[in-house]
């Protein structure tokens, strides 16, 4: 009986994630078409494309890891703060004369440790990630503000701008974003670790009884997101040649929005890094179009809110009606 059933349906093998990815990809394409119709010359010009990539790069880099956090059934609201902390620590170290590469490495490692500690507290004491990461948002942002005296650190060595510069017409932040996304698409698809993250997010008790360590998963995903957040802080600092303690104030939300637009389930167990990439690009393209239309940022925020609700509803409909 089973053989018949499986043989009958051996056509195209869809997965639920596949359908969702296809949907967000189509939505992204439609947005691009709209952009192209509005500004045929400008929209696909190299300068506009790179500007889209650069403005999306911070979100894409950090959300690559945050997507895994969400897949594991957790929330991370501390990435913005961790990014600012990384930026300020990097600034302080380079100003004090620490070699640039070493300073960047140390800042990234500290971001990783902060994330790991956050994950450890969540898993060890079985606390809600929402609250713990919210606390870490204040702690890390606080460290940034204290380190920078509540303002911006200027007078950094000019050499640091190399980290975030534009070579020819190719901006390095966009290159980093593409590289990170590729690595995380690989991690999400090809590693046992990601499989265990899905399991923990889909059904923690079942994962536990399958011998999967919740703590390992949660610590790892938080460590990754802390590391990438600090890295983004370093890149931004190098682009400004100044370390601003107030940067990345909306990163926490932006990462979650990009992931959710891409079909990631806020309750865990479902989602893809590719979907997140499409979600992040879609938001930037949408902003780009709204700028072309001359909308104010206030109006833009309202539109984004409506779009987010639409996306969640669409995801729900897909999940309910596409029985895969």
């Amino acid at each position: 009986m089973s053989n018949q059933a499986s043989a009958l349906n051996r056509g195209i093998k869809f997965t639920a994630d596949g359908v969702q990815n296809l949907t967000i990809f189509c939505i992204f394409l439609m947005a691009c078409v709209v952009g192209f119709i509005l500004e045929p010359k400008l929209f696909f010009s190299p300068s506009n494309v790179t500007s889209i990539l650069v403005s999306a790069s911070s979100v894409i880099i950090v959300a690559s890891a945050v997507t895994l956090v969400l897949i594991s059934g957790n929330l991370n609201l501390s990435v913005g703060g961790t990014g600012a902390m990384g930026a300020v620590l990097f600034g302080l170290m380079t100003r004090a004369g620490v070699p640039i590469v070493l300073a960047a490495l140390l800042a990234v490692v500290l971001g990783l440790l902060a994330g790991m500690l956050c994950g450890f507290i969540i898993a060890q004491f079985k606390l809600p990630s929402f609250i713990v990461s919210l606390a870490f948002r204040y702690i890390t942002r606080g460290i940034a503000l204290v380190g920078a005296g509540g303002a911006v650190i200027f007078g950094l060595p000019a050499g640091i701008s190399k980290i975030g510069m534009t070579i020819g017409s190719i901006p390095l932040p966009a290159v980093y974003a593409i590289a990170v996304v590729l690595v995380f698409v690989w991690i999400q698809n090809k590693t046992v670790f990601a499989s265990t993250a899905y399991a923990v997010g889909a059904n923690e008790p079942a994962a536990h009884l399958s011998g999967i360590s919740n703590r390992k998963v949660v610590m790892s995903v938080f460590a990754m997101s802390g590391m990438l957040a600090a890295f983004v802080g370093v890149v931004i600092t190098s682009r400004f040649t100044a370390a601003d303690s107030g940067i990345l104030s909306t990163l926490d939300n932006d990462c979650i929005i990009a992931a959710v637009l891409g079909g990631t389930d806020i309750n865990g167990g479902r989602g893809t890094v590719f979907g997140m990439l499409m979600g992040a690009l879609f938001i930037v393209v949408l902003t780009n179009i709204m700028n072309m239309l001359g909308m104010t940022t206030y109006t833009q925020d309202m539109v984004k809110g409506v779009v987010l609700i639409g996306a969640i509803l669409l995801n729900n409909i897909i999940r309910k009606h596409v029985r895969i």
Binding site: M1, S2, N3, A5, S6, N9, R10, K13, F14, T15, A16, N189, K190, T191, V192, F193, A194, S195, T196, Y198, A199, A202, N203, P205, A206, A207, H208, L209, S210, G211, I212, S213, D265, G269, R270, R323, I324
Partner: protein, 497 residues
Amino acid sequence: MSDHVLEIKNISKHFAGVKALDDVSFDIVRGSCHCLIGENGAGKSTLIKILTGAHPKTSGTVLYNGKDFNPASTKDAMKAGIGCLFQELNVVEKLRVEENICLGLEETRFGIIKKSSNQKVFDVLRRIDSSIEPKQYIEELSVAKRQVVEMAKALAMDSDVIIMDEPTASLTEEEVKRLFEIIHDLKSQGITIIYISHRLEEIMELADYVTVLRDGRHIATKPRAEISGRQELIQMMIGKVIVEDYVPNKIDENIKLIELKGVSNKKLHNISFDLHKGEILGFYGLIGAGKTEIARAIFGADKYAGTILVEGRDVKAVSPEKAITNGIVLVPEERRTQGICTSLSIAVNTPMMNYRTVSHKGILNKKQQGRLAREYIEKIGTACRDENQSVAFLSGGNQQKVVLSKCLNVSPKVLLLDEPTRGVDVGAKQEIYQIIRQMVKDGCSAIVFSSELPEILGLCDRIGLLYDGEIKMFLKNDEHVETRHIMSVVTGGVENE
């Protein structure tokens, strides 16, 4: 008014092809204590759910006070006058007694609760148990007192029928006595009690009438006076146990795979036994007897005092992870919440206990993962579209086969099966038994924890009888096993009755 408060006529209930209730008819006399008994799966819960509006019935009629009764929800039923003390009490722990009582009460004005309606509840509460203070938090109350709160709520809504589902499961002896006094008191006020319990002693003490259900069918309704004793009830409950297919396994008595020595925890008292190589050991007991707790202790999911040896080594089982490394796997009791990740595909679920068969140095081989899933789908006959189908859309039996695939993929030495066929249709049950037998033939040993006697008798070489967290005795499974004797032991009877 007739003296029948409830008349149940030809009630049937079908769940996805399974007849949970099949043409059940009987009447309930006003002001009586009517006991409902039957093995697990006999249809008691389904009947209660129909009476309280939690499930719609497939066919038949219920007359309540002579009128057709079709509650759409439990709230509906409560308003009409049928209150229920569910096994899982409906109280909100974080609230005070008075706030709990007001929940669901209808006497509001513009959404604000009228003070007067509370007064009535407090009067009722004081009448039943004056030691409960309305200001106390529910958390601070014992289970017995929480039940009283629920009862007060039902009475305050002028219920004339109160259903009690296993109310004594977690009460002390003293509290049970008190509950019985309350029941007598309620009866004298003309309130009808429908009482469900596995404890036959209680039934014999309380009942005015007893209704026996078996396999969804009505077996008998008798006045207490016409029942000769526990033995008669047991006889009616189990009928003829048909045991097919039991084939003794090849057991190597010299090799002890698992030894438990004086294992105790919250729920278990001094559990000791050995599992031999090639053996299927069974534990039989009713709900709450400690089956799941033994399985979880061996699997390292719960803490315990005492010693568990695996192949002679003290494992001090700290985690399921370690247990799996030691070759022990568990098919958990609650499939949907503990066994599978429903939102994920069969292919992703299958290697969850052991990724080594589908990966190399932490890198997953998706082709191999698909191949592994397909291999088990063929081997144990999981009916599905293909390996990429979400487990959520499989039937109960096929979901259980996915859980078994997970376990098989570990190549386990010991298979722990907790209620392996709960919620599985008859055909799939037999298939799952075949899989278990085959695994044992292939060199595995197994412990089956079940509250279904035919299952235990059909599979196991040796049977441990559990009651209240203790092993009462071990039996060897052969033609001399007496089901009546077993039922007597697991319902708390004296062994040489």
